[in-house]
Structure formats: C-alpha cells, structure tokens
C-alpha cells in the first residue's frame, strides 16, 4: 500500500432527513477543528422533515480552505441511496462506511476501487448504548477509527452536545463511540489510505455565515431582531432566541415579514440598532416598508439569505438570483446600501459594519447572503472576530447633551452631505414627526415642488459619500494589481471561496488568473471601475442565469464582461465546476 495521505480528505455523510445527518456532520466537523485541523463543511438537504436524501460534507486540510470539492474520499452512508448517489464522487482508494444491515453490493464499489467498510453500527448502538438512536454516534466513531483520528476530540464534542440530555445519555453515547471506534480502527484503519492527525496550535472557531452575522451584529450593539422563520436565515433567528435572555436582546418572532421589518423600523426609530432576517420571499413582503425606511431615513439592517427562486423555488438550496431585486426594490428612488460578504469572516464584518453604515447614512442596509454562505461552516481564527476592533459609529445621532444646546431642531435638515442630525424620541428639544410622505426639513408634509426637489436630492446625495466609504472590490490572486493577469474573474458574495481555490489552481497550472470580488455592490463602489478597467479579460461567476452583476457593471461603467459562468440548479459552485465551465468557454475540454 502506498503512503498514507495525511490530513487531506473530503468526508461526506449521506442519509435521509431525520437521520441526523446534519447534527452528526456538525459534530464531526467540530471534533476535527478541536484537533487543530482546518475544515470547510456544507450541507445539502431537501425541503422535507423525514426521508428523501440529505448530505453533509466536510473537507479537511492543514491550511485554511474556502470551499468544498466535488470529489470525496470517505462516505458515511446511512442509506443505500447515499451510496447510489455519491459513489460517482468517490475517488479510487476511497471508502464507504455503512451499517452491515444495509447489505450493500460490493461489486460496483470494487469496480471504482472503492472500499466498503461494513460495520455492525446499529448493533453496537444497541448493545453499548441501549438504543438504535445512537447509530450515528457509532458511525462517527467508525469514521474516526478508520482515519485513525484521535478519539478524544470526538468524545469531547459528544459530551458537550449531549450534556443537556443528562449524564446517562452522555455515558451511553461515549460507550458507543468508543466501541465503534475500536472496531473500525482495528479492522479497517490500516487498509484505508487517508489519515487524520491532530495538529498543534490554537483552537479555531467553526463558524457559519449565519452565526458570523449574529456575532457581528451583537458586537456592533444590535439589540433587536424581528423576523419570521425562513430558510436559510432561520439559524439567525434561532441564535438570537437562544442568546436573547443572556445578552439582554429582544428577539421577536412576528406574524409575517411585514411586521418584521416594520418592527425593526419602529425599534430603530427609537434609537435601537435593529435588524431583520429573511429570504427572498420574505424580503418581497418587506418591499413597501423598505421604502418607508428610505423616506423616513431610518437606519435598519436586513439580512436577505438568497435561495433559488422564483417564488418558493428550491427552498433549501442556494442561488444568487436576488441582486438586482434588492437593488431596486420599492417604489421611487432612495439610498440603500447592499453588502455582499463572501465568507464567514466577511459576514462577521458585514454584520457589524452594516449598523455603522445604516446609522451613518440613515438608510436601510441589506446584507445579501445566501444558503451556501449562511449554512456552510469554516474554521476561523478566533482573533478574526475581535470585539475590540469593532468600532461603533452612530453617525449624526445627537446625544442628549447636544440636544440640550439645540434650538429649533430639524430632523431632515438640508446639509452638504445630505445627512441630517438625528434625534430619537424622548427629548423635549426634539419633538418631531417622521413621515413616509414627502416632507420639509422639520418633518411636516409638503407638496411644494421646489422643496420636494431638494429633498430628493438631499436623500440621494448621501450615496455620493457612501460610494466612497464602502469597501471597494478586492483583487485576489498573485497579482492584485492585475497587471500581468490574463484572466480575471469577477464575483460577489459566496462564490468567493470556490473562486479563490479555482484561481489558485489555475495559477498553479501556469495560467495568470485573478479575481475581483465585490463585498459591497451598492452604491457601486468608487474605484470599482478602475480596478475592472485594469483587467484584461473579465469573466463573471454568478449563481444566477442572467449575470446580474455583469449587467450592473456594464450599466455603471460601460465595461462589458466578456464571459459568464453561471449556475442556477440549486447547488453551490465548486472550484472544479468553475474550471470545467472555463474550459468550455475557452473551447478546451478541461479535465478538472
């Protein structure tokens, strides 16, 4: 047998909804992170509670990784269907862990050079733990055993996860994991070409985009989340609900998304940093009130986690189809800011910065996430989430002291920047009415054409400043100046990870490829045109059909993006897919 591959592995758990695919996967990912390994994990599940087919995929490495791959080395199959579906993804030399009860045929596996690790998982669960429910625990133990990974990390995760269920359950699960581990290690570890070894070093966070946004928001002082559950941002609701009591936050589950955004507006108007979270369908219901926030200049933050539309579409899959929608949503013209973080770290920054931007420009800020970003997990260095580096800038918010000194306060005063001094209700010097009707500087309704003109200009003028202060697109790759780069991808949001790896691979193949990534799309950031103009050949990579950013770039800069690599089947991009499509675009069949 050839030398073992160490710490480079993609591991997939596949089974039915209700079999605990996700919780097992997340537990295993954490165990790997506790051993100092870098992971990237994502899940794919169907819009049903039981049955069907779900999977959870974890990629492990010794250096930071940003994406999953299409190939896997180890499959934990909880159903025969998992084997049928994922066998084509297994590399020769890879293996499948399955309960002996599944009675899989070995021949087709052998044909692909894939090993079958049949184990009596249910039996172990029953015998050691007393319940079939622990089959998953057994399976994870087996996976750790086969890869020779240190059991104690898995044990510690199990202890943490089952703590709430009482010591009995913890004990039983530990017994099961140990038994399965030993069984698998003794029988199969030697025979499997991949090994996972603990690495020294500090522990890393296992972070999803959803949690990152929550942490960013809380770090920036967000105290109010109003939302109606909707995949893929339900995790944000659940995070807030779980932490509200402890942190002194208010989480409000509403009757619908209209109530969610109007509650955020009500809270923000009073001076809270307030947020709502939804998906495209819920955002659709927020459209009218978005304009109200624009007109009353109320700073709110909305997380829009995209999933494939139109309408209910594929409710548990991913897509990037809502960019132009959120850019233009609601009647009339008013400033808004659209942030498009690319990974969990950027999501943390966006979650925090959104509130500063909202208060600085007194307008709604949309964090445009998606299913892939929101629910995939990555290891992140803890110091990347640094509370002390999160600055709080409340813009032109007037303190009580400043208010004391004021005479004749005007909430919507005309200023050079368009930003007016903002007071929240409660102070005797600042009694005013905010209104969705057009209004004068003091808030009273006006229909005067000249005043109307000035107010439109005042509001939209804020974008001029915002354009300059927004994070400009970032160029990745060996040549950030794009001077020597022959091919530049342009992207926004969650395609960042797969693209970073695709660019790496291309450069390692001798091509000179680069990547321009938009972390904020609107107002179209200053400097974007310049960066793009430097690129020789632009190819947009977008999770939609029409190439929405590409269209926007042409509208804003006149630059025509030459090619488009798109995806709209619900699955996230992978580096391999991007390279394959690039090959097609370039007329070369790629082997990637």
């Amino acid at each position: 047998m050839a030398e073992k591959v160490i710490n480079r592995l993609s591991f997939k758990i596949g089974g039915e909804a209700g079999q605990g695919v996700e919780s097992s996967g997340a537990g295993f990912a954490k165990a790997l992170a506790r051993g100092g390994l870098h992971i990237f994990a994502y899940q794919d599940y169907m819009s049903r509670i039981r049955g069907g087919h779900n999977f959870f995929q974890i990629r492990v490495a010794e250096r930071p990784i940003y994406s999953h791959t299409d190939e896997i080395e180890l499959l934990l199959a909880l159903t025969a269907e998992a084997v049928a579906r994922h066998l084509p993804e297994l590399v020769p030399g890879g293996g499948i862990i399955a309960d002996a009860e599944l009675k899989l045929e070995e021949a087709p596996l052998a044909d692909r050079g894939v090993k079958l690790f049949h184990l009596p998982l249910a039996k172990i669960a029953l015998e050691e733990g007393g319940s079939r429910v622990m089959l998953n625990t057994a399976a994870l133990g087996a996976a750790a055993g086969i890869t020779n990974y240190k059991l104690e990390h898995l044990e510690s995760v199990i202890e943490d996860n089952f703590k709430v269920k009482g010591p009995q359950i913890v004990k039983a699960n530990l017994a099961v994991v140990r038994a399965a581990y030993e069984y698998a290690q003794q029988r199969y570890a030697a025979d499997f070409g991949y090994e996972l070894r603990e690495l020294p070093g500090p522990r890393r966070l296992v972070l999803s985009g959803n949690t990152a946004i929550c942490l960013g928001a809380v770090a920036a002082g967000c105290k109010f989340l109003a939302a109606y559950p909707m995949t893929p941002t339900t995790g944000i609701l659940e995070w807030f609900a779980a932490h509200a009591g402890r942190l002194g936050l208010v989480f409000k589950q509403t009757e619908d998304e209209i109530a969610a955004i109007t509650m955020a507006i009500g809270a923000a108007h009073m001076g809270l940093r307030a947020m709502c979270a939804t998906s495209g369908g819920g955002f659709s219901l927020m459209v009218e009130a978005l304009g109200l926030a624009g007109m009353t200049e109320t700073p709110i933050v909305i997380v829009e986690g995209q999933r494939p539309g139109p309408s209910t579409g594929l409710p548990t899959k991913t897509e990037q189809g809502d960019l132009l929608f959120v850019l233009h949503a609601s009647q009339g013209e008013f400033p808004r800011i659209v942030l498009t973080p690319g990974d969990a770290e950027e999501a943390f920054l966006a979650g925090a910065e959104a509130f500063n931007l909202a208060e600085r420009y007194q307008c709604p800020v949309i964090i445009l996430s998606d299913h892939f970003l929101g629910t995939s997990l990555r290891t992140v260095e803890p110091d990347r989430l640094d509370l002390e580096k999160v600055e709080i800038d409340r813009g032109e918010l007037l303190t009580p002291e400043k208010l004391e000194r004021l005479e004749d306060y005007k909430r919507f005063r005309f200023t050079e920047t368009g930003i007016s001094p903002r007071a929240v209700p409660g102070h005797p010097k600042a009694v005013y009415v905010a209104t969705g009707d057009e209004h004068a500087e003091d808030g009273r309704i006006t229909e005067d054409p000249a005043l109307r003109r000035k107010m439109v200009e005042k509001r939209l003028r804020k974008l001029e400043l915002a354009r300059r202060e927004l994070p400009p697109p970032v160029a990745f790759g060996p040549d950030p100046e794009l001077e020597e780069t022959e091919l530049t991808f342009v992207a926004w949001g969650s395609t960042l990870g797969p693209l970073r790896e695709a660019v790496e691979r291309l450069n390692s193949q001798g091509r000179r490829a680069g990547l321009v990534h938009f972390r904020a799309v609107w107002p179209f950031p200053e400097g974007a045109a310049e960066i793009l103009a430097r690129a020789r050949r632009l190819i947009a990579v977008e999770g939609n059909y029409t190439g929405q950013l590409a269209g926007l770039i042409r509208q804003e800069t006149g630059i025509k993006v030459e090619g488009l690599i798109s995806k709209y089947d619900g699955l996230p991009f992978s580096p391999g897919y991007i390279l394959e499509k690039l090959g097609e675009l370039e007329g070369v069949k790629s082997g990637a």
Binding site: V206, L215, A220, A226, G245, E255, H269, V431, G436
Partner: protein, 287 residues
C-alpha cells in the same frame, strides 16, 4: 393636568370642516394633558388616511408610517423604549382592512399601547370607497350596487382574539371619549378604542344625527366589563341602540413584561454592546 397649549401643533389640519377627526384630535390632547404626559414623553404612530395625519396636527413625537402597519411599528417602539407612552391612531381601513392581521396579533401580544381607530366606515383619503366597517349593502363609488361583505365587527374580533381592553367611543361625546382614552392609556396592555367618527364628506349614513339618536353609554347600564361573554354579546348590538364605553377589560402581563431584557430599564438606554467576557463566551460556543 398639563397646559393644553403644550400640545399645540404648527400645522393647520387639512381635514374637512365638521370632520370627526377634529374631535379625536381634541380628545387626544385632552387625555394627554389630563394624564400629565408631556409631548416628548409620548409617541403617536399612525398609518395612512385622513385620520392618520393626526400626529402632524399637534405637538408630539410622531411616526406617520405606511398604510396598515402602525401596530407593529408601535409594538417595537414600545419594546425599544417602554418608558414612553405609545399610542396608535389610524383609520378603519388602515386598522381593519389592510392592517387586520396585525390587529389579531397585537391582541395576543398585549403590548402596552393604546390604539385609537378613527372609524368613519369609509375610505376617506382615497375619496369614498367602502371600508371593512361599511355596512353590507353600502353604496359607494366602488360599490354602486351595494358592498357585498358583512360589516367587520372590530370589538367582537378583538375580544375573541384576546385583547385585554376593548372599548368604543364617539366623537360626539367628547368628554366620554377623553375619559376612555385616559383609561386606555392607564390600562396596562393593549387597549383598542374604536371611535365612531362621522366623515361628513363621504359617509352620508353614519352622520352625527345617526349616532346622536342611537348612542348610549355602557357605564350607565349594568354591563360588567370583566364578563367576556357579555362583552361579546354587546359587541353585536348595533341598530336602534349603539353602546359606547368599555366593553371588556382584563388584567394580563404585558408584552414588554415578558422580555427579560427590559427589566433593567428601557432597551435604548442599556449599554450598546456585550462585555468582552460575554463576547468571548459566545465565541467559545463555536470551539
């Protein structure tokens, strides 16, 4: 009792002369003065419609939002700063038509806000279409052959949905209306006050005369506002005699009381962020 001039706004109301909204404006000012709540300690949230312009016509913190959404805005405003007195003032179309769902859920939540519905049984601002409270068969520009829906019964629905204070006022009885508003504000929890408000321009049926002939005060009967069934029965009384007054009242924890975060004072006054220790503990969950 505060000086009424405190609440004097700068804008002249744009309402039609004789419109019932003038009386509601007076009653709101009277009630606040009586309750000694100065303008900067109250917030009035409104929707869109003739009556929803009210906050512009007095001195008070106002939020004149969009059609039908005053309740969630007010509910959250109260959560954000529960030291302020929060009122909602909106029309029947606003509160019962487009905003009906928020009404149902406000009843369940019991936020400590007072909701005044300017119920003129018509869409005033859009010039005279029938509204949810228009009686079945109403003749209007959009129902030239008579409206087809049963008139909406806000009091019965609010009682059924769990509202803890349900009342009806009449602008023609300003003193009574003022006292209802005072009681509504004093009530701990969601108080719905449906106000019979003649629209002198578009509603030729529900006029001052119509109401003057029919209205009687529940307070002058043996009605027990703690009896839900009795309240429900009274809510269906509409014809020769129309009851005004407090139909139903019950004590229940308010929405704000159920949030631990609010116990140490208004949320807007709490320190903005978690301590470093708290924040690191949040991160530790991910290790």
């Amino acid at each position: 009792m505060l000086d009424l001039r405190l609440y004097q706004g700068r804008e002249k109301p744009t309402w039609c002369p004789g419109c019932g909204d003038w009386g509601i404006l007076a009653a709101v000012k009277n009630a606040l003065a009586e309750l000694e709540i100065p303008p900067h300690r109250a917030l009035i949230v409104s929707g869109i419609g003739c009556g929803s312009k009210l906050p512009h016509y007095m001195r008070v913190n106002g939020f004149h939002g969009i059609h039908g959404r005053a309740l969630p805005i007010a509910t959250a405003a109260k959560l954000a700063n529960h030291a302020l007195t929060v009122l909602v003032v909106a029309g029947d179309g606003d509160s019962y038509g487009i905003g009906g769902n928020h009404l149902l859920h406000a009843c369940r939540r019991n936020p400590d806000i007072t909701h005044l519905v300017e119920d003129n049984r018509i869409y005033g601002l859009t010039k005279g279409q029938y509204s949810p409270t228009s009686e079945q068969g109403s003749l209007t520009v959009t129902s030239p052959e008579g409206s087809v829906e049963l008139g909406f019964n806000p009091l019965a629905v609010a009682i059924a949905a769990g509202a803890s204070f349900v009342a009806r006022g009449y602008v023609g009885d300003l003193k009574h209306l003022t006292s209802l508003i005072v009681r509504g504000v004093q009530h701990k929890g969601y108080a719905l006050i449906d106000i019979l408000q003649p629209c002198v321009t578009f509603n030729r049926v529900n006029t001052y005369e119509f109401y003057n002939e029919r209205v009687y005060r529940l307070e002058e009967t043996d009605h027990d506002p703690h009896d839900r069934l009795a309240a429900f029965r009274r809510a269906f009384e509409w014809g020769e005699r129309i009851p005004i007054g407090l139909f139903y009242e019950e004590e229940r924890p308010t929405h704000e009381e159920s949030f631990p975060a609010l116990r140490e004072g208004p949320l807007v006054e709490r320190p903005l962020r978690p301590s470093l220790e708290e924040f690191e503990a949040l991160k530790a969950e991910l290790l």
